[in-house]
Symmetry: C2
Subunit: 359 residues, 2 copies
Amino acid sequence: MTSQGRARMIGLDWGTTSCRAFLLGDDGEVLAERRQQSGVKALTASAVSAGTPRTEAFERAYEQLCGEWLETLPKLPVVACGMVGSNQGWVETPYRSLPVDLVDNGFVMTTVPARDGSVVHIIPGLIADQGVPDVIRGEETQVLGALGESSWTSDNSNIDRIVLLPGTHSKWVRVAGTTVRAFKTFMTGEFFALLTTESTLSQLASPSGNANWEAFGKGLDVAASASVGGGILGTAFSARTLAMTGGIAADEVEDYLSGLLIGDEVASASTLWREVDVDEVLICGEADLSERYRRALVKFDLPTPRGISDSAATGMWRLAVAAGLVGQLDPSHPTPQASPVSARQQHRSASTTYREPGN
Amino acid sequence: MTSQGRARMIGLDWGTTSCRAFLLGDDGEVLAERRQQSGVKALTASAVSAGTPRTEAFERAYEQLCGEWLETLPKLPVVACGMVGSNQGWVETPYRSLPVDLVDNGFVMTTVPARDGSVVHIIPGLIADQGVPDVIRGEETQVLGALGESSWTSDNSNIDRIVLLPGTHSKWVRVAGTTVRAFKTFMTGEFFALLTTESTLSQLASPSGNANWEAFGKGLDVAASASVGGGILGTAFSARTLAMTGGIAADEVEDYLSGLLIGDEVASASTLWREVDVDEVLICGEADLSERYRRALVKFDLPTPRGISDSAATGMWRLAVAAGLVGQLDPSHPTPQASPVSARQQHRSASTTYREPGN
């Protein structure tokens, strides 16, 4: 039996800038992975410039990524998460409102019938309303993957965790057991990019090599200092004055700004949920960025976080199980799989209470 | 006697993007005003591209602006404030350290002998150290102008004021009498420009016409709401989610962001100096922007501010008096004026304790 012979489903982590396809085996084991730069942004742009429907661009990217797998195993369930379900994606899918138990029975995915006869099931994003709306798409799947198997099955609703997904738009997700109670988006990565490439501060900066932890720590200190105060609008100018007065070198400006920004984010987040007794913090992110957040969390007296790598495939597997698309493996019976038809029927009966564009 | 016959000095408000020249008469009355786009940035760039010394570009701009006046009245004292005294300006001038009585006797300007024989006296900027350095150049002169004549002469050291100069880099200056106790720079205007032109939020925005006070007020509300929290890094994303969910229209996004940013600035500033019992707040700025800050100050329970228009010329007059370059008019005596030679001698004896580039 080849590795593909054991395949149970395909998972697509389809975000703004790239798409990763996973061939998953028993219990969500990753048998194979493929990646393309065909993110939602590039596909939408190519459809606009070609004057063709957006769906065509998504179809083609889907066939390039998964065509070979589906030729061999045409009945594999296909699940996708991320911006592919936004109003700029393949098809727009509704959000689920908080609080949400991620693995609640009967949760509904939006289905897209593809040209090759397969059906793609898109995992819904989440919407929170904490005075103003906040949304995530894709991170809910990573969160579930990050929580790990023990959380999926045992009764652990009393364990409060924060799952932190740093990036262009950092997401802080508060989870009790597998129920998402709240989340919050910080535009920290985008602010960093703007400040270090477009602002007057960027003119004083020269590229840094490896992370300069001293400069980063200095930024954290200033963010933490109540006497300096003022949030990022009031601390950012110090990158200029310190560079001018020799307090930091030109190749330290970027790490200093990184410390100011991440410090500001962590300070705000720790205030936001100060009433919650957090048992654990998990960070899902790329290594250098996770290390920056780890240092900031320690600085602001939050629990020392545990790093989790790449949890999207695991989350998609678990959500596919929760949606009834794959069953927990029982070797004595054939694998139950939702057919394209039943998936479409399921979608028709879904009560779509909230449909909004974007994210 | 023509209006120029009564001229007592020339004042140059020479900033990053423009230069304004004022011909001032008795008691600082503005007799004439000229303006050019020859700000420090453009002049430095033109010198670099022509491969000539920067001073030449400044000489030429100075002659274009003031040549006619100085031909008639070659002995007029010339005073300049702003970025002209930075390391990108005509000549780099030292900062004065806080606390500083702006009209203290014996304060020293840096002199530049011009090709036509006149001498330009550059008003020093100020440097503060509140954990990290902060600097202003030019605003100290506007502050003194804004305080008004009664503050210059009477003993009013117990009157605590905040002079607020909104703009690309907003400056909050805390003054007791004419003594600057502290100041703080907020990069609010620059963040606004970055977010509305370069960020993902700008893609959802269409230009607005007049100020939309409802959208601006909504931004203030979110900035003020502790339950939303998170500073601008944590509130900015709401411009996207509200635009997506119909909470604000596309042509309201910019005013909403303006409210978020100015609200964040005013909230931070009010925390920064919460121990000070402020008697009065003065705003020096362009009308629309001042009105935005006025609304934000009211929202954050700061004193309702008084608006002051264009105070640079008045401030330069008063500082020229303090430096002994012009005397308070006494009709029975000839006007005492510092000659270019004595001004240069004064500069030579100056103790330059702090020289740093920029701002």
